[in-house]
């Protein structure tokens, strides 16, 4: 708990700069997550890029020809207990509520609880960890990520969550009762020479 507290209390800019886990580079500003959304029989590409924000996390999204952004408070990044799942609004910045992360990641606190107890509560639903031998998530170009696999107790939706306490990205969601499934294809990291 104390260890988790130390992680949670880190200022946001440290999170943005220093988030890292063994086996993948640092997630930070200008990191782009390339997703495929599976929407009622159709597929859409969605790119989400971490941008600088003053005291907040700003995520720009792009799904050609549309784009927009989300703004999340520090508190949301650290303590949120639900996901913002509304359809992205083009050419608009949406401020999520203090208890909401964007649908593609959970809060640091939620991740810490998951690691400690093997389950956590999010979206008013308990997600339990599935113990697996192979805890790797395969991206395109054979890049692999360490993940935790969870399943919810009500609708059997599943998530594969990046094992990163500072940025617990949802790499894949399946059987979402909202009908919006998605899968991470690639992560593009900012070129360190930029």
């Amino acid at each position: 708990m104390k260890r988790n507290f130390i992680f949670i209390s880190l200022p946001l800019f440290f999170i943005i700069v220093f988030s890292s886990v063994d086996a993948h580079p640092a997630i930070g500003v200008e990191t782009t997550f390339n997703y495929t959304l599976f929407l009622h029989g159709q597929q859409r590409r969605l790119n989400i890029t971490i941008k600088n924000g003053r005291g907040a996390l700003v995520l720009e999204w792009e799904s050609s020809p549309y784009q927009g952004s989300f703004c999340l408070s520090n508190k949301a990044v650290q303590y949120a207990d639900r996901m913002y799942f509304k359809q992205p609004t083009p050419f608009t910045q949406i401020q999520t509520a203090e208890n909401e992360t964007l649908f593609c990641f959970i809060s640091q606190n939620a991740y810490a609880v998951l690691k400690e107890k093997s389950h956590f509560k999010y979206n008013e639903t308990v997600y339990r960890e599935i113990e697996e031998v192979d805890r790797e998530f395969l991206l395109q170009k054979n890049q692999s990520l360490p993940v935790l696999h969870v399943i919810d107790e009500i609708d059997d939706s599943e998530m594969w969550i990046l094992a990163d306490p500072l940025f617990p990205l949802v790499c894949e969601m399946r059987h979402n009762p909202r009908g919006v499934d998605f899968k991470l294809n690639a992560i593009t990291y900012k070129n360190p020479t930029d």
Binding site: L39, H40, G41, Q42, R44, F85, K86, Q87, N123, E124, T125, I154, D155, P177, R178, G179, V180
Partner: protein
């Protein structure tokens, strides 16, 4: 009588002067709209022609075509033009090559692509083979010129089709059913391809072919599945893909010609099509013939010879695109025999009823008569007229049963040769018989609601546009019934044409406008929050606003309240009761403000058909000048002569016909017997009607500065209304606009008619 004779003679002479002078087909650029969202077919095709041979660059492109950086797989004989969703057809693919007969895959990059009306030519890089294609109605004519040192070979693939996906029964994907191939003689190959599905989820259709070669086949290998069979002349249909690789040895001319007859009946019928249409081997003669056929149609509208090359290209290409579909398959119907015409590839009437069919009515009314009769033919045997149809199957119905609009348009414009009694019967089936679980195929989904409570409730998908479309379709039924003396039917359906008001939420305000078409449940409650999702415990909902497009995030693409549009767009869609709509919106000033907001905030969607009429709605508040301004801006911003020169899917010529009308300064309100008048984009346009009369539209002093109509005369008499009846246009004469630099009161007081 003598006046009529005179008019006929002058019409004929005028036509002669047009054809004796400049040819118009050279202004057609089939490449306009071939890239970007347009998706037009770029290969040769006769007007409404059944065969449309052209390049396939892989199997993913709806038209087959992709730019030069993509390799070409081959050249198939059947395509559609401007469609969205999953591709259709792409049957019987030819591909020339050199070398031995060991490889089915003969993919090649291209260069030096030459495309013009009736002709496609390109050089295949892989083996340096020049490919040239022209066509007749049902026969594709190929000319392959090989390098002097190479042997000549040709692949005929009876298993290829567009839209194939790895996943079986993928959404809107065509599915292979069977194919067969036979080497009949040393110059003849026959077979078929049987495919089902595609965008319209259609039943299996079969494309038969018969190919004749100008050089003798020296040896060949047929294939079934992945196995080649050298020397085996037949591959019967066992549910696997078949084809043949043909070798022709060395020829002194290094030229191979191939004629591919197509049929939906049999291979022998395809062979007969060759004998009837292209019995010779003169490629240039066939090319001349297809161009002549188009010239006859294009020359029915003559524009100012001083107009810029770009304007002429945009206009005549737009006319050309309008007349690619539907396709005339009279005599090629594999499902029944009938004396009536048979047309297919209505793709879809939802897209084309507003502009394409009215334009065909102006240019070639006898063709529109055939199209309407084809709808009645289909009704007689399939039980419902289509709103869309391809591969001999009805489907899919995106909104209303819009064949009603085509019939009404034909009726009010006096088209003869249609059994309107049968037509009214067919319309009434749409309006009274639920399609019984086949709502995407034909008929009116949600009809039980519509007829019981006066609107389609949220229990049904696409409730918004269905309600609006049905109200207009019912208006069309009322007009035909009235004309045929059916007073009771007229009154019933006139009343139903008011049903759009049942979804009009008077008190809803958004962006300064009041009143919108919004979701309502079957109990009459307005729904601001719409449930979605499938949790066992949680309830999810989203807020519906006039700008909401809830698909595909919350619901599937076909499952929203409006199909491919928002409430802001569709709340303008009441073409039969615009004055009542204005009243609902709060009067002329509020309506003007609403229209201004719609355009200035970028809510107007130029890429799709639902908002086609909206730029002209200023006419009904006495401001036709504002309509013209909007249209001028829209055309200038979105249409051009580039390969991306169409702003959306052309949808069988819908986008193109919208443009063509506005370039003439006319715009139809389909189903009603008049055209709205706007500032023309040509100084002079002459319509040469089928009946021999001629109607001219002249814009005196038209320029970029003089872009407002100051006054108008019709046959020398003052004409102070910004609309004109179809009858007056057909009677012949001259409409002359005086143009000037300032907005005027012309057309401000005599509003377009409202028929009741």
């Amino acid at each position: 009588m003598y006046k009529e004779i005179f008019l006929i003679i002058t019409g004929v002479i005028s036509l002669f002067e047009v054809t004796a002078g400049e040819v118009l087909y050279k202004y057609v650029d089939p490449m306009i709209g071939s890239e970007g969202p347009g998706r037009v077919f770029i290969g040769p095709s006769c007007p409404f022609g059944m065969t449309k041979p052209g390049p396939d660059c892989g199997s993913g492109s709806n038209s087959g075509y992709l730019p030069l950086k993509y390799a070409v797989t081959g050249f198939s004989q059947t395509h559609v033009s401007g469609t969205g969703g999953g591709p259709k057809y792409g049957n019987i693919q030819l591909m020339p090559f050199t070398g031995d007969l060991s490889e089915k895959d003969q993919l090649s990059f291209r260069e030096d692509e030459q495309v013009s009306l009736g002709y496609y030519g390109v050089l295949l890089d892989k083996h340096g083979i020049k490919v040239e294609i022209t066509a007749s109605e049902r026969v594709a004519f190929y000319q392959f010129t090989y390098d002097t040192n190479d042997s000549m070979a040709l692949k005929i693939d009876a298993g290829f089709f567009l839209g194939e996906k790895e996943k079986q029964n993928a959404r809107e994907a065509q599915q292979f059913v069977g194919s067969e191939i036979t080497v009949v003689s040393d110059t003849e190959v026959a077979g078929y391809s049987r495919i089902r599905g595609g965008w319209n989820n259609g039943d299996a259709y079969t494309v038969y072919f018969y190919a004749r070669t100008s050089q003798p086949i020296s040896h060949f290998s047929t294939w079934k599945g992945e196995t080649l069979f050298p020397g085996k002349s037949e591959q019967f249909d066992s549910g696997e893909k078949t084809g043949v690789l043909l070798a022709f040895g060395n020829s002194e001319t290094h030229e191979l010609q191939v004629k591919v007859g197509i049929s939906f009946i049999s291979s022998l019928k395809a062979k007969e099509n060759i004998f009837k249409e292209i019995p010779h081997w003169q490629f240039k003669d066939s090319l001349k013939q297809i161009r002549s056929r188009w010239e006859q149609l294009l020359s029915r509208i003559e524009v100012d010879s001083e107009a810029s090359e770009d304007k002429k290209k945009m206009f005549y290409t737009a006319l050309y695109h309008t007349m690619l579909m539907p396709v005339d398959r009279t005599g090629e119907n594999p499902r029944w025999i009938s004396d009536l015409p048979y047309y297919d590839d209505f793709y879809a009437i939802w897209d084309t009823f507003r502009t394409s069919n009215p334009l065909i009515t102006l240019i070639a009314p006898s063709r529109e008569v055939a199209i309407v009769n084809a709808l009645l033919n289909i009704y007689t045997h399939d039980g419902f007229m289509p709103d869309a149809r391809s591969g001999n199957s009805n489907g899919r119905t995106q909104g209303g049963s819009n064949a009603e609009v085509l019939i009404c348009d034909a009726y009010v414009k006096g088209l003869k040769g249609i059994d309107y009694k049968l037509a009214l019967e067919a319309m009434l089936v749409d309006a009274t018989v639920p399609p019984g679980g086949k709502e995407e195929k034909e008929g009116r989904g949600g009809l039980t609601d519509y007829n019981r409570i006066g609107y389609v409730s949220s229990d049904f998908v696409r409730a918004g546009n269905r309600t609006l479309d049905y109200a207009y379709d019912d208006f069309c039924i009322a007009m035909v019934a009235k004309g045929m003396g059916q007073e009771e039917l007229y009154q019933t359906f006139l009343q139903k044409s008011d049903n759009w008001k049942n979804l009009w939420r008077d008190d809803y305000e958004h962006l300064g406008a009041k009143g919108f078409i919004l979701p309502r449940d079957s109990q009459g409650n307005w729904l601001d929050e719409i449930d979605y999702g499938s949790s066992k415990k949680h309830k999810y909902h989203f807020t519906y606003t006039p700008l909401t497009r809830e698909y595909p995030w919350y619901v599937c693409h076909w499952c929203g309240f409006f199909y491919e549009a928002t409430s802001w767009e569709y709340s303008f869609s009441v073409p039969h009761q615009v004055p009542a709509l204005i009243e609902k919106c709060g009067g002329p000033e509020a309506f003007r403000a609403r229209l201004d907001t719609f355009f200035e905030k970028g809510i107007y969607n130029v890429t799709n058909e639902p908002s086609f009429l909206t730029p002209c709605l200023y006419h009904w508040i006495g401001r036709p000048d504002l309509s013209s301004q909007r249209i001028c801006q829209i055309v200038g911003d979105n249409y051009n002569t580039s390969r991306s020169g169409l702003p959306g899917n052309d949808d069988s010529g819908a986008m193109s016909s919208w443009l063509a009308f506005h370039m003439m300064g006319l715009y139809p309100n389909a189903g009603q017997p008049y055209y709205l008048l706007n500032v023309p984009m040509f100084c002079k346009t002459i319509l040469h009607h089928e009946n021999g009369t001629t109607f001219s539209i002249v814009a005196e002093n038209l320029s970029s500065e003089n872009c407002y109509i100051q006054s108008a005369t019709l046959n020398g008499e003052a004409f102070n209304q910004a609309w004109i009846s179809h009858a007056l246009i057909l009677a012949g004469g001259e409409l002359r606009f005086q143009m000037g630099p300032e907005s005027s009161n012309w057309g401000a007081s005599l509003f377009p008619p409202t028929t009741r």
